[in-house]
Symmetry: C2
Subunit: 379 residues, 2 copies
């Protein structure tokens, strides 16, 4: 049996259909699920301080990117600080990806081998090899609360032949990741692949669920498939995942996706959307998107979201934020990021409350109604 994390537990607290709330205990603190994890690719959630993230926005756990941190600043620098938490001054849980997704995205610059992936990085063009052992070593050096296993994310529309080979290799790699663990203060999640095929997903889930992972993730979605195919895949996969372990849907998503996938049994999410959109002047609100850079907001004295209690909405007008955006001021990115992350975290908090109260239907109806839409049927 491989090393297990001695400071990990997960307890489901309430359910409403397939949706559930829970408490996830990790080496650096507790996380209430379902939760959204802001993405901190390069050792910072873009434009935010850790204090703003935790205290004001309410982030409980953030995501770091193994590939980016390995390249820059490099492990030696992070190790000298005693790990990623201290490097970036975030004293709460961190989940790191395995770098697999980033490496596969390099396309022409990478070559899949049976023992791992060879690639040239996007910064200096130097050659590297990521193996299951290597990505565990990196993530243990980072000191992640949750490390992710090394997998291949097959492209949308991959053939059965491709999937068969890829999934077999991913299963083997994931087993090797478990075997490579040495730290008892880092947990590890396995990843289920299989595209949008119910058969492949079920088959791969069976292989991964029997392994000693503290939690399981659905990978390979939000890579170009239809939104309905994504929701269906989550609907037929999540409820089959072991109920006593957290379920993480990787790289998802839009606010609707959070609502729909929590409804289908997901506990954890991450996505660059709220932070990336913020830097493009796109705000997410209870009444739908507000593209604050648009001329219609030039003299709009209302807050970004009239139903929001965040610092930005309590303090500034759409008109001011639009001015900052047009003037290319750094504060524009800060304020939009702050609001968007607050909106996401607040949405998750609302979902948790609704599930605890057994009122997820009512929550969904109200969520869509505020945007002038009808709630889609629950699966």
């Amino acid at each position: 049996m491989s090393v297990r994390c001695s400071e990990f537990s997960f307890e489901v607290q309430a359910t409403d259909g397939d949706a559930r709330t829970g408490v996830l205990k990790l080496p650096h603190g507790e996380v209430k699920t379902p939760i959204f994890m802001p993405v901190g690719t390069q050792g910072t959630v873009k434009a935010m301080t850790p204090e703003e993230l935790h205290g004001d926005v309410g982030a409980q756990i953030i995501l770091g990117n193994t590939y980016h941190l390995y390249l820059r600043p490099g492990l030696e620098v992070i190790e000298a600080h005693g790990g990623l938490h201290r490097f970036m001054n975030w004293n709460h849980p961190i989940l790191t990806d395995s770098g697999g997704y980033q490496v596969f995205s390099l396309k022409e610059l990478r070559k899949i081998r049976e023992d791992g992936v060879e690639f040239r990085d996007h910064i200096s063009g130097s050659k590297h090899l990521f193996t299951p052992q290597k990505v565990v070593e990196i993530q243990e050096t980072l000191g992640s609360d949750i490390m992710m296993a090394f997998d291949e994310c097959p492209p949308a529309g991959a053939t059965d032949d491709y999937l068969a080979k890829s999934l077999a290799r991913t299963t083997r790699w994931e087993k090797e990741c478990l075997d490579a663990r040495t730290r008892e203060d880092c947990s590890m999640f396995g990843i289920i692949q299989g595209g949008t095929s119910e058969t492949w997903r079920a088959r791969h889930l069976e292989e991964i669920a029997v392994m000693d992972f503290e939690g399981l993730a659905i990978g390979g979605l939000s890579v170009g498939e239809d939104i309905e195919a994504m929701y269906d895949t989550v609907a037929f996969t999540a409820p089959k995942m072991p109920g006593d372990r957290p379920r993480y849907l990787m790289g998802v998503g839009k606010p609707d996706d959070l609502v729909e996938c929590v409804t289908r049994g997901i506990d954890m999410f991450d996505c660059v959307l709220p932070t990336r959109n913020a830097r493009n002047g796109q705000c997410l609100t209870s009444e739908g998107p507000v593209v604050v850079r648009n001329a219609e907001y030039a003299k709009d004295l209302s807050p970004i979201d009239p139903n929001c209690s965040c610092y930005v909405c309590k303090t500034y007008t759409r008109s001011y934020v639009r001015h900052l955006y047009r003037a290319k001021e750094i504060l524009a990115a800060r304020l939009c990021t702050w609001h968007n992350l607050h909106y996401y975290l607040n949405l998750m908090s609302g979902l948790r409350g609704a599930i605890e109260a057994g009122e997820l239907d009512e929550f969904r109806t109200a969520y869509y109604a505020r945007q002038g839409r009808e709630a889609p049927c629950r699966p």
Copy 2:
């Protein structure tokens, strides 16, 4: 007699040679002098929130740019918010320049007329005319605590003939600015020009000092002249300025300049240097400049300034800040700006304490010694 500000007072509290401390009361609050004013060109001090600026960095008063705000977002937008303070959520004093300096900097795009300056703006290329009346109207719409009179800033090395014409016109424009005032909750400072010539400075000071300005400024320095010429000009001008009114040295300067010009009797400063340098990864510290982007700091676990008590120095290493800078992260600009402004405001606070204690010599000696230098002689 022109309109005067009903909520303005200035009281000198202590002196040490030509240096002095004072309390400046303005419509939006009190300012302890000598003081440095962070520059908020476009309705934001770049990368900072007002709460950080006031609460953490200790800024008491900031500067806004008439030219930039007039062009974007435009007066209608700021007026709709009830003025610049509410637009940008800064509830403390604001000084605005007259736009003169920006307009003269447009070179080929502007034409000096006897009644004002005609120019094409740098954003849309549209034609505008700034007159004394116009810049007062704009600044009153902004609701500045301190408006600046409209002047021409002669280029470094201007001939006597040029200076004679320019100063006569500036004197007339400044008088017209006073006559154009209508608001009792906005004060106005006059500007002394005259290059680095003691004769011209004295002559112009005589003309401006008799007018009803609440304070006086030295303009036209830090425009390319030698540093010694600048210090000399301040030394022979400042002590002649009326002692019961605040003395503002426009657009200055480096930390040394603040120390030297406070010593020579200046009460107020503004400069983009601490904020602009911050965005280039250049930090100012008690031990001299730290160019945090440099490779030598890659693994440096010490704070930017070991003698600094700001949030950044208490929390992050040079290594981390360098990483953020190399990764082009917004947080790099935030942290360096935060530290630099704290350094400037803290330096001013140190100077005030030294003057109050009659220990300016000791302060100067220690200031230079920490940087391995000897204090220049006091004038």
